[in-house]
């Protein structure tokens, strides 16, 4: 049976809006995806029937809130193929990376090395630079190939006995290229390094099986995965979480507090100081459940059909150039392009007048832009609810920009 895009699209109320007489063609999913009714309903149910703080209350609403929050942890765990107690709710993907950089980072010694890549989002660069300033660690960088992939051929000679962690984007937020996780994990094991994947652009495209990937840490954002803002996830192997000190101190993360000494709660609570983002976490749990119910074989085929449609259309526009993999292999539906003679912001602004939402600029990946001497790119990032009409509207807008702005 073919993938029923209309049925999926119908679950996202925002997509039926008309703005200035035009339908919405939302192709900025890499920045924030839209939210289905299943998520909206779950958040509304919490806010209207079970709103209370979690863990400490004995009243019925507190019990409902705690049950819903812990059920959300189970849903996220099921989505990742991991035990619930290895799931830490954070304020976002950036917060999750910072947690690892601070907490796991505190176990590192001066001279230890972290290996990143040239295409990382700033959120997987800057926390490590802060750690470098604090702890005297060193940062190494894997270059990128001309088609926007992490150049794993360069990996072996960048690894040293002091390399403690390789932290990479699972899928590039600029080029859509997916990294060969097996190759990274094998190389990391050869020197005893851990592997962290930034799954911000991968998680919105279907369930994962983290144990089979063989990585040690995984992070992703709720709002890019059809969930609410203000929540993200850190997954780490239990033995790593057990060894890590708290990132933030406060309520909920303690064993016993005296002025002489405080003991820590076991993970994941150790890393969830204060009142967590309860409603957003419940919404994210619903998003994970929604994603698990989707036909991802059909969705992926549909997404790749749209990518091909987009690439074919861009090829016919004079001066349009794709930055990233030219084919459909080992990629996700994030496509960046340049239009010669027209700045990406002007392309994006023109597209807005056609009802098309995209992102333009450096995509928080300035080192990658510098490497290729780019002012920026226009990025089209798709979700299963997008359709050929969205791509057609985009191509019409790009042709208009090419005709009028240069």
């Amino acid at each position: 049976m073919s993938f029923d895009v209309a049925a999926v699209r119908g679950q996202f109320p925002i997509l039926s809006q008309i703005i200035d007489g035009r339908p919405i063609h939302y192709l900025d999913n890499g920045a924030s995806a839209q939210t289905p009714n299943a998520v909206l309903d779950a958040v509304r149910a919490y806010e209207t029937t079970g709103r209370a703080n979690v863990l400490r209350g004995v009243h019925r609403l507190a019990e409902r809130a705690t049950d819903a929050y812990e059920n959300a942890r189970v849903e996220v765990a099921n989505f990742l193929g991991a035990p619930p107690m290895e799931i830490v709710f954070t304020g976002g993907c950036t917060a999750a990376i910072n947690l690892v950089a601070y907490s796991y980072g505190s176990l590192l010694k001066p001279g230890d090395r972290i290996l990143l890549s040239e295409l990382e989002h700033h959120s997987n660069i800057v926390p490590w630079q802060l750690l470098r300033s604090r702890a005297g660690i060193e940062i190494d960088m894997i270059p990128v190939t001309v088609d926007g992939r992490i150049d794993l051929e360069k990996l072996p000679r960048l690894l040293t006995a002091r390399t403690k962690l390789i932290s990479l984007a699972h899928v590039s937020n600029v080029t859509g290229a997916v990294v060969d996780v097996g190759a990274v994990v094998a190389a990391a094991k050869s020197v005893g390094a851990k592997v962290m994947l930034d799954g911000a652009q991968r998680a919105p495209h279907g369930p994962l099986d983290l144990p089979s990937l063989g990585v040690d840490f995984y992070v992703f954002a709720g709002h890019k995965a059809y969930g609410p803002n203000g929540v993200g996830v850190l997954w780490a192997k239990a033995e790593l979480l057990d060894a890590m000190p708290p990132f933030m101190g406060g309520g909920s993360m303690i064993g016993r507090v005296t002025f002489a000494e405080t003991t820590w709660a076991p993970p994941p609570r150790r890393f969830e100081a204060g009142t967590p983002p309860i409603g957003p976490a419940i919404g994210l749990g619903a998003a994970c459940k929604w994603m698990r119910a989707l036909d991802w074989t059909g969705a992926h085929a549909h997404e790749m059909t749209m990518v091909q449609h987009l690439m074919d259309g861009l090829q016919k526009i004079d001066g349009a150039r794709i930055f990233g993999p030219a084919g459909l292999q080992n990629r996700y539906p994030v496509v960046s392009f340049m239009l010669d003679g027209v700045h990406p912001h002007d392309v994006a602004q023109t597209l807005d007048s056609f009802g098309v939402a995209v992102r333009a600029g450096h995509h928080c990946a300035q080192p990658l832009m510098d490497r290729f001497d780019l002012d920026g790119t226009t990025r089209v990032s798709m979700a299963p609810y997008n359709n050929g009409g969205d791509i057609d509207a985009l191509l019409t807008g790009v042709r208009h920009a090419a005709r009028t702005l240069r």
């Binding site: 700045h343 912001h345 600029g361 920026g376 702005l405």
Partner: protein
């Protein structure tokens, strides 16, 4: 609607590229980046003994609005000092709706930007760079 943003006058200013390039021996230079969008403007000026601009050149790595603004600014900058450039900036601010009043040419062309708050910094970035060069 954005279609109305890129009106002929703005596109013409950008395409005119008035003052685009570098000066061989600038008295002062300054560069300004917009960290949000990555636009970058570098301005070179040659000044007389009283701090008035004798020659100006700009390099813009940025959007059409930034290019158009740099071009418009270069077209009126010669003979002005910092106070004179500040006065011209008021025209740009009026055009994009940040100040009351009528904007003089050539900055009146930027009136459509008033409806696009996120793009107004693109228009003002060349002024920031020139202010740094003159300060």
């Amino acid at each position: 609607m954005s279609d109305q943003l890129y009106q002929d006058k703005i596109v013409a200013l950008a395409k005119a590229k008035t003052g685009a390039g570098k000066l061989a021996a600038p008295t002062k230079s300054a560069r300004r980046d917009n960290p949000l969008c990555g636009d970058r403007v570098t301005i070179d000026v040659r000044l007389d003994g009283q701090g008035r601009i004798e020659e100006i050149a700009h390099q813009v790595r940025g959007c059409l609005l930034c290019q158009a603004s740099a071009s418009a600014l270069a077209s009126v900058a010669v003979g002005r000092d910092l106070a004179g450039i500040t006065s011209v900036r008021h025209d740009a601010e009026r055009a994009i709706g940040r100040e009351q009043g009528e904007a003089a040419e050539p900055f009146s062309a930027f009136a459509p930007v008033a409806a696009h708050k996120a793009r107004q910094e693109c228009v003002l970035l060349p002024f920031e760079a020139l202010k740094d060069a003159l300060s």
